[in-house]
């Protein structure tokens, strides 16, 4: 080691590349026995206030992220995602029927509910596990959370519109349309599949 500068550089590089904190002795051994105490002191001073700091813990030295930047190491990122239709339906069913088991949700939806669907609602914090139903199998039952009311701007679950309100709002219209299409309309009602007896009689 010719000059102090080179020694400082070598200590810096050695600690940077080290896989674990190193004692001054270990650093020295790594660098042909040079006395590294001055170099360490210089480095501490050099890195003070930077994004990275040289610190001594239990007589071992290592670089670490500056304490006031520790939040950079663990970031949270929020991805805004829209609830899928299946999840929205499930949420609605929980809200209207709580507490409900998964089997009940499926019965009401008339479709199987994927495991992930309820997970999403739990993750969103709108639905919680509200215990178990005391029936065979003791299924988990779900209910909405206070957070659900807050997010959707409801005072209480009683604010949810009733079925009649839904119909009045036209939200059940599609059903009526479907039924109307299925039913034969007035005139021809009963004209076609005649009981043979009656028709015979009539035509007579």
């Amino acid at each position: 080691m010719e000059s102090l500068d080179d020694l400082v550089r070598a200590v810096e590089a050695t600690l940077f590349a080290a896989e674990a904190p190193m004692s001054a002795e270990a650093i020295s051994a790594h660098l042909a026995g040079a006395d590294v105490h001055d170099a360490l002191a210089q480095l501490v001073q050099h890195y003070a206030g930077r994004g990275v700091e040289l610190v001594e813990r239990g007589q071992r030295w290592h670089f670490q992220t500056a304490a006031n930047l520790a939040h950079l190491l663990r970031r949270e990122r929020e991805d805004v995602r829209r609830l899928s239709r299946a999840a929205t339906e499930t949420l609605a069913i929980v809200a209207y029927h709580e507490p409900v088991s998964r089997a009940e949700i499926e019965a009401i939806r008339g479709v199987q509910t994927a495991k992930g669907t309820l997970d999403v609602l739990l993750e969103a914090g709108w639905v919680r596990v509200a215990g178990r139903r005391e029936v065979p199998g003791r299924p988990v039952i779900f209910a909405t959370t206070p957070n659900f009311l807050v997010h959707f701007g409801l005072e209480s679950r009683r604010d949810l519109p009733g079925i009649d309100d839904l119909r009045a709002a036209g939200l059940l219209d599609p059903v009526d349309d479907v039924l109307a299409a299925l039913l034969p309309s007035g005139g021809e009602a009963g004209e076609n599949p005649q009981p043979p007896l009656a028709s015979a009689d009539e035509s007579a």
Binding site: E76, E78, R82, A87, A92, A169
Partner: protein, 265 residues
């Protein structure tokens, strides 16, 4: 420039090698290292470099002689030569003979062109060999320079922020209800004569006469055709019921013919 590639390895055996072994450039060593050549072009390049001139100025004839001499010598030593080397030897012998012909008797393509091609290929191989050596000699990560030994690591915890509005929930519920509502068959209001009223009506009308009456005569006159139809059906069933109770008898002369009934005393 490397020293002509006398560092030899058996490339088929292992592509990761221990420290390269250097060896002398003596002829004897050369022959013993036969297995180490990377093929005839490799051998030619090494021989060309022994001419100690720029590859652009090597004497192809001299190179051919050296190669053929090498092959002869190897055969004298009863060394196994791979077919590639012998094929190259035959081709070089052909090239040499063509080069020695008077120009007007030379075949096409000209031997000069073939010699040039060989020279160009040797240059390219030499260029890549040098490039490889320079590349390997760079400051390499993990050998000469090092990354941080114990990085803290950056972690990004992704969180989903779910979005849904109030209307979507209500609408979804409406859709669920709509989809799964039990199918209700709604029967339109229609004018009917119930069985009870038909029974009363037929029984009382039968009491008026002892004669046969046609079923049709029991129907309300001037009624809406749809009501008549219902009355006909109900009255027919009423007639059957009265017959069962022994209060009336029925007669029909032919299939589908008029149905008549009269009171039983």
């Amino acid at each position: 420039m490397s020293d002509g590639g006398l560092i030899l390895m058996d490339e088929l055996a292992a592509d990761w090698e221990g420290p390269a072994a250097t060896s002398s450039t003596e002829d004897r060593a050369l022959y013993l290292e036969l297995d180490g050549w990377e093929g005839p072009l490799d051998l030619l390049l090494d021989l060309a470099r022994r001419q100690k001139v720029d590859l652009r100025r090597i004497s192809i004839l001299e190179l051919v002689d050296q190669y053929l001499g090498y092959i002869d010598h190897a055969e004298e030593l009863r060394l196994e030569l791979a077919a590639d080397y012998l094929v190259m030897a035959a081709w070089l012998a052909y090239l040499k003979s063509a080069l020695l012909l008077p120009r007007e008797e030379q075949p096409d393509p000209s031997p000069e062109e073939l010699a040039l091609r060989l020279q160009l290929r040797l240059q390219r191989l030499a260029a890549m060999r040098d490039a490889a050596a320079r590349l390997m000699g760079r400051d390499r990560l993990g050998r000469d320079v090092f990354l941080r030994g114990a990085p803290e690591g950056l972690r990004v915890d992704r969180r989903n922020k779910w979005q849904c509005d109030w209307f979507a929930v209500i609408q979804a519920y409406g859709m669920v209800k709509a989809r799964t509502a039990p199918v209700v068959h709604m029967v339109r209001d229609r004018m009917v004569m119930t069985l009870d009223s038909a029974l009363t009506r037929v029984a009382s009308m039968l009491g008026v006469t002892l004669d046969w009456m046609e079923l049709r005569e029991f129907l309300p006159p001037h009624a809406d055709p749809r009501l008549r139809r219902s009355a006909l059906a109900s009255s027919f069933v009423a007639a059957l019921e009265l017959a069962r109770l022994g209060k009336a008898e029925l007669a029909q002369d032919e299939t589908f013919g008029p149905l008549r009934l009269r009171q039983v005393r």
